[in-house]
Amino acid sequence: MRVSMDIELKDIPGQLLLALRPVSELKGNLISVVHHHEKRTPRGSIPVQLVFEIKPDKLNDIVSSLEESGIDIVRIDEKRFFEHGAVLLIGHIVHTDIQDTIDTIDKTGYAEVVDLNLSMPKINMASSASLKIDAISKEHMESAIALLREIAKKKDLLVIEPIKSIGVA
């Protein structure tokens, strides 16, 4: 996942290096560092913004490592939904409670339905819907689609997924 983090460094040499070390040690991928050297916080420290990608289970280690080095973390913002996927549904989508279908995905916490297009030709005829789903990672996207497949089976809906060779993106 992608994490954006505001930290504050003491105004002594070597602090930035100290702050970046855990990201690389834990195999994170640093995307940007914004270092406001001319700015000072009321506490006299230097505000820095880091953006990096990291496996979700490693984020806590980074936080503790920074805290051990005496670096203040002011804000962590996980840009959680990194994977984007599309899925089509065909069947009695509305009759079978589309809201419930969407809620089930949203409730997972790792995936969300971010867009829905519904096409209903005539009453009593099968309708079609295209769903856009965002998820934390590829694996989570796969789980979300698997979940959708389960719901669809119960509701007798046809799920059309993307082909494998493009993954689920």
Binding site: I160, K164, S165
Partner: protein, 331 residues
């Protein structure tokens, strides 16, 4: 010159295509040092036998005019069992319930040590391992490129051309009828039933389209791929299948708006054999239209290799049979 004595069992679209390419390619084959001498031809009711070589042109004419290949009452199976020859070209109808006469023909050919080339996927989808074992026991060459994807080379591509690579996934469109119907539904924004009727009128779909549109034909081809390329021991009960009958024009339009086409995709890898409609990005190599087939073979060394071509047709299917015949006897 190497003379190979051949029987052609089944003389419909494919059997006749084989006769035509053997006539058209006679010089080409002679230059390779190959003389395929057809000593017997059989359809469902009659046969023609000539130890000095059947005149294929007149058999084609007779089949056209009278609906039969000859006047002999001997069956294809009896030809395989009793006439002295090297190679059986088996092109009888596909039967996936019992394996049909094709299964008997194949087993008989191997029992008599004859080589066999076929386009008939039924027996292979049902009894793959048994057939391979019977061919081995008979010391027979057994090739069946035409069973998967017609003119489009998939089996020989994966087995021979890409030798040395480990194949991790094969994904593609293996049924021209379904591709035609879905392509036309998208173009005309028309319902499934209407485009099925059009496909039937144009001869792209059978009167009973179940086998194609429910994904069973694709499943049979995947079983052959799974067994031949992935070394599995699968039969068509191992395939999860969803056909195209529920696809709506609205779904195709929604997909199109998101940049996708909907295609009936067959997929084989170590963990599953699946046939179902899938979203294919419009600019992806698998997004071929009309009645084309396409296959993308994922390899460990060379990445993805994609081939596309005509999955059916008399001459096209005969071309795959001819290439199998040549590969057995060349050198």
């Amino acid at each position: 010159m190497k003379t190979i004595r051949v029987s052609v069992i089944g003389f419909g679209a494919v059997g006749q295509g084989v006769a035509r390419v053997l006539i058209d390619k006679k010089d080409y084959l002679e230059k390779m040092g190959l003389d395929f001498k057809v000593v017997a031809v059989a359809d469902s009711r009659t046969a023609v036998i000539d130890d000095n070589g059947v005149d294929l042109s007149s058999v084609l004419v007779r089949k056209q005019n009278e609906g039969v290949v000859g006047s002999e009452k001997i069956t294809g199976l009896e030809i395989i069992e009793t006439i002295d020859h090297d190679l059986v070209v088996e092109t009888t109808p596909t039967n996936i319930v019992t394996g049909g006469v094709g299964l008997q023909n194949m087993l008989a050919a191997f029992k008599h040590g004859r080589d066999l080339v076929t386009s008939n996927k039924g027996p292979l989808a049902m009894k793959y391992c048994e057939l391979i074992e019977a061919a081995r026991a008979g010391g027979s060459h057994f090739r069946f490129e035409a069973t998967v994807g017609g003119a489009m080379p998939v089996l020989n591509l994966a087995k021979d051309v890409l030798a040395g690579n480990t194949i991790t996934n094969v994904e593609g469109i293996f049924n021209g009828t379904c591709n035609y119907i879905l392509t036309r539904m998208t173009e005309e924004h028309a319902p499934y039933e209407q485009m099925l009727a059009e496909a039937q009128e144009l001869g792209y779909a059978e009167t009973d389209p179940t086998y194609d549109v429910e994904g069973i034909d694709t499943a049979c081809k995947l079983v052959i791929l799974a067994n031949c390329v992935f070394g599995m021991n699968a039969s068509h009960e191992d395939v999860t299948i969803t056909g195209i009958t529920k696809i709506t024009p609205e779904a195709l339009l929604l997909a199109q708006n998101e940049g996708y086409a909907i295609k009936l995709i067959g997929e084989v890898n170590d963990s599953r054999i699946n046939v179902s409609p899938k979203l294919v990005p419009i600019d992806h190599p698998l997004a071929v239209g009309g009645s084309l087939n396409v296959a993308s073979v994922q390899t460990d060394l060379s990445g993805p290799i994609t081939v596309t071509g005509r999955g059916a047709g008399s001459i096209e299917t005969a071309s795959a049979i001819l290439s199998d015949m040549i590969s057995i006897y060349r050198d």
